[in-house]
Symmetry: D2
């Protein structure tokens, strides 16, 4: 592989997903990070906000947009991405990878891609539609819980096997809620604490249902999802179960086949624990058969496979680079 070939910019670079993107792009062998935009931090060194980057970059946050980039990542939060696109006159030659939910498909989407501001946004879950992504011009990056749950269920939907009600519980770390200060982000509150929220009504169900219904012919059953806030910073673990009338071996065959060509998804024969994937772009799946139920455990790092890592994976695909480039990360493990 030759020298740097892509110029990238980040909008909303002072937040958690923005910071992860900077960390990834600074080490990506084929990317030059041209600028990091932030309204709130403009003028400060990037390492003054993302303090682990001290010594890694001399970039400063800027409040002006440099249009001389090949790809622009939007890390501006839900709603703000639409506002940004409406206000800016970006040449279509700049590919957009948006990490908000603004351009993701949802259950009421009429077509496969979301059109807005003279652009077409492809839902960026590579394990669902890598070929569409390779040909795409703009990407709507999936949600974190949405990624963990879809990866747990894709092989079943593909085989038309989602017939009975689906039950999911999942636990997310604090970085999933971003860096804004709130009572439930206070250390004194959250340390050693737990709560559920948006029980049976989490907004990611929209994109999940759209994906799964798009894959299977029969009507999708209800998906009941109980999300929890847990006392840890990074990662999502989901347990999904639904009735499945084949054997465990058949399920394993089905999942192994489905994910054979997808480098970030691994099927574990042992029960996984969250820290196997923390600080990596992996998703680890585990299958179990209990009575009539197939139980699927899925784990991801919410900031990587659930956000910025998947965004880089999508960028790699958009620009014809190897899918894993810059994403073979050392796990934290502990």
């Amino acid at each position: 592989m030759g020298g740097v070939s892509i110029n990238a910019g980040i909008v909303g670079g002072a937040g958690y997903t923005g910071g992860e993107l900077i960390r990834l792009l600074l080490n990506h062998p084929q990317v030059q990070l041209s600028f990091v935009h932030s309204n709130s931090q403009a003028g400060k060194p990037v390492h003054a906000v993302h303090t682990d980057l001290l010594g890694d970059t001399d970039l400063y946050f800027t409040d002006t947009l440099d249009q001389d980039v090949d790809v622009l990542f939007l890390c501006v939060g839900h709603g703000a991405a639409k506002t940004f696109m409406a206000e800016q006159q970006l040449p279509v030659s700049i590919k957009i990878i948006d990490l908000s939910q603004d351009f993701r498909w949802n259950e009421s989407s009429k077509s496969d891609a979301v059109s807005a501001y003279d652009r077409v946004f492809v839902y960026g879950l590579p394990e669902l539609q890598r070929q569409a992504i390779v040909k795409a011009e703009n990407i709507a990056n999936p949600g974190c819980f949405a990624t963990a749950i879809q990866l747990a269920l894709l092989p079943l939907a593909k085989q038309n096997l989602l017939a009975a009600e689906i039950h999911v519980s999942g636990i997310t770390g604090s970085t999933g809620a971003g860096q804004s200060l709130s009572p439930t982000s206070h250390y004194s509150w959250r340390s050693g604490n737990l709560s559920n929220y948006k029980v049976l009504s989490h907004q990611h169900l929209h994109e999940i249902r759209r994906t799964l219904q798009g894959l299977q012919e029969q009507a999708l059953p209800d998906i009941n999802f109980v999300p929890y806030r847990g006392p840890f910073t990074r990662g999502i673990l989901c347990t999904s179960y639904t009735r499945f009338y084949q054997t465990l071996e058949q399920a394993q065959e089905l999942y192994t086949t489905y994910y054979a060509s997808h480098p970030f998804v691994h099927i574990s024969t042992d029960t996984p624990d969250l820290k196997q994937v923390v600080n990596t772009n992996k998703c680890i799946l585990h299958l179990q058969k209990e009575g009539e139920y197939l139980v699927i455990t899925s784990i991801i790092d919410n900031l990587l496979k659930g956000a910025s890592g998947q965004a880089v994976q999508n960028m790699n695909l958009l620009f014809g680079m190897p899918e894993q480039l810059g994403l073979q990360l050392k796990a934290t493990s502990f």
Copy 2:
């Protein structure tokens, strides 16, 4: 109230539930803690093992049983309680409160109480059968997850309303697994980590099903339970849901009525978080209606309402003392 009226002994006092019992009984205004038995720690001061008790007690662990007590708590672990009862010739005048699962009822129990070693053990969930406990001679103290889940479902079973499949997810702290060292109890592993275990096959389902089936006439539906190990030390939070064709207000009325006379159960109109009950004997319940589902969140401290606190509550009832005596504990809160 007058002076000390009860002499108590603890067998297996070096473990987590034993330690909690000692903490409770030392502060209980009507109990004299006569001895703490431990095979492994005999001869050591109690505060050498339960180091927070420095200055609170001069008791030493002993390996001989003093039979001059009114009540004996068994904190010896599953299986060991039976062995202990088989080996000892305890006069029936000593009431036994066993914290293991050895004498709890389960789905195949023919009658309401478990008979063993010339004794009858009553299942000690006061919010289910306080009157039976008041008249009992021996108690089988419920399991921790079993307590949290039963308290979430009792009012529905009472009204014959458990008609459709029940789904429960629950997360427990590390003290639930006791003090033995294992890879999943290592700090480096568990800190910031999560895993599920015994998915859809947790052993507490037996006592839960027995209780609920005993309350309602129609056949009990399946209960699907996904337990998690969480990165915290104390507490259990469970989310249960099942189809319920009445309104939220009706559900609240039903629960409020059911628990009106039970001092440790509180219905919260706000979503609860685990630390509301940590270091207390409370159970807080929260009700929510989502579509056809009634969602019940229940939280307890696994070592108190889920073990030693409930054991003291049972002792209070057995001996005609106020149910809350010695159990109005300051929450840790943080």
Copy 3:
């Protein structure tokens, strides 16, 4: 002991120390908590803010002061206590226990007690001057680090043995910084994290120096204090060392004698760990001799012995009640 004898009020009851006071006073056998004042939360139930109190109290926060109390606790933060006293015309018959630093003595204090607003505030460290507290009318409650460090050094100062430079490092939990939201209180930042702050310049050194200099005749040497923020919620652990030319046994004798009549201070022969005192009003000390140095480890719960617990201890003394009344708390242990 008879019925309720004291009426108490709390100003600034919505914060951390205010919450702890409420928890303590609700369970105190000789106190009636008359009102809890809070400008920010007036009108809300107390349990809406201190959610662990659900079921324990029907009090509402109020924004009017009821002057019909025997004692008023000020939990309003540094600076605000002075403002409050200046603005209110409180009868001197109401005893004030202030938890801020506003009325604590410091190195430049001319006399033993601080006079302000027609009142005299006695520095409320019972292990230093219980007799002065018993006779006091108003109390300035010591700081948390100040309590841990003073209890480590009092016996040496008393014997005129603080001759050489003193070195202290100490680590505090997040509740020490109160409930206001800040970047260093964010869970994502603080979990698993550490930092030092105010190195060699912590404000508590003023009251510490004043206390120690007041005890010993010779000039007090420098005290170098390195404070840390640790990833936990409750507790302070300090390690102090200074040259000491006697034996360990002599040191132990000296400390044991000094604290013989003080029920909350315990000398441990084993190295202590922080959780021995969490959720209690204890201070545990440990002594060690290394070369010429005497090393003193001291641990307290910053919200109890370091704040609200000590305030109740002072109240007990002010009103002639047993020093430990309402303060024999179950440790959290885990």
Copy 4:
């Protein structure tokens, strides 16, 4: 840079430092990891023990030594490295990098390097003696606390400025104690807990004193070190202070100059926090002047710059590769 040029083996690969080495070497562009030796885990897949490596390697632990390697890392623990070297007849062409303390210099070392088993071990602190390492054949990798404290003091020793007593406090995460199970490694104990240990007597003082005395001409003053166990998994933060009669600017100039050519050491003008370096090979230093004292804060990841990362840094130097190769790691940040 061309293809793979070095074959590496690891002995003791099932522990924490062994696992980190595997993670690093699998991603190192110039290394082929030939084998991972483990007596306890031989025959199992490497990812069965280091479960985050699922999908990254098909290696199995082996109990036979393959001598066809260029470098062998010993991760076998203190004492065991000597035993291993005594029992094996390894050709001297295999360079040894030992992570234990067995071949580190200490205060009583007569010469600069430690000779044993026909080999000469050079103390592998690149920021002290990179040129000696480049020419070395075997490396004794420094201890974790030793690295953090030496990096804090090297520039002062170099300038002969360590004249007055040095005071250090430092806090380490749980991985510093390895994976063996012990009461202080139990999650229920360590979560939210703190303790000091080996106060003023930590074994790393030997190598620290040897290094510093080797640099400066005048006699080294006493170093007083208070180590703590903290409730987190990775990282070390140390605060060191000693009298320094120049200005802060002069100190900064001195440190900046000393570390100008050392890519992993960064001087921060802001107070650092531990997570800036977690999962990286960096050391961040911060300087502060308080009265006569210069205060130096130093942070490292104990498993990387404090162990396996430094071992790879040493390997890079031994084999003439760029010092940072394979060590530009994404920080965990949260």
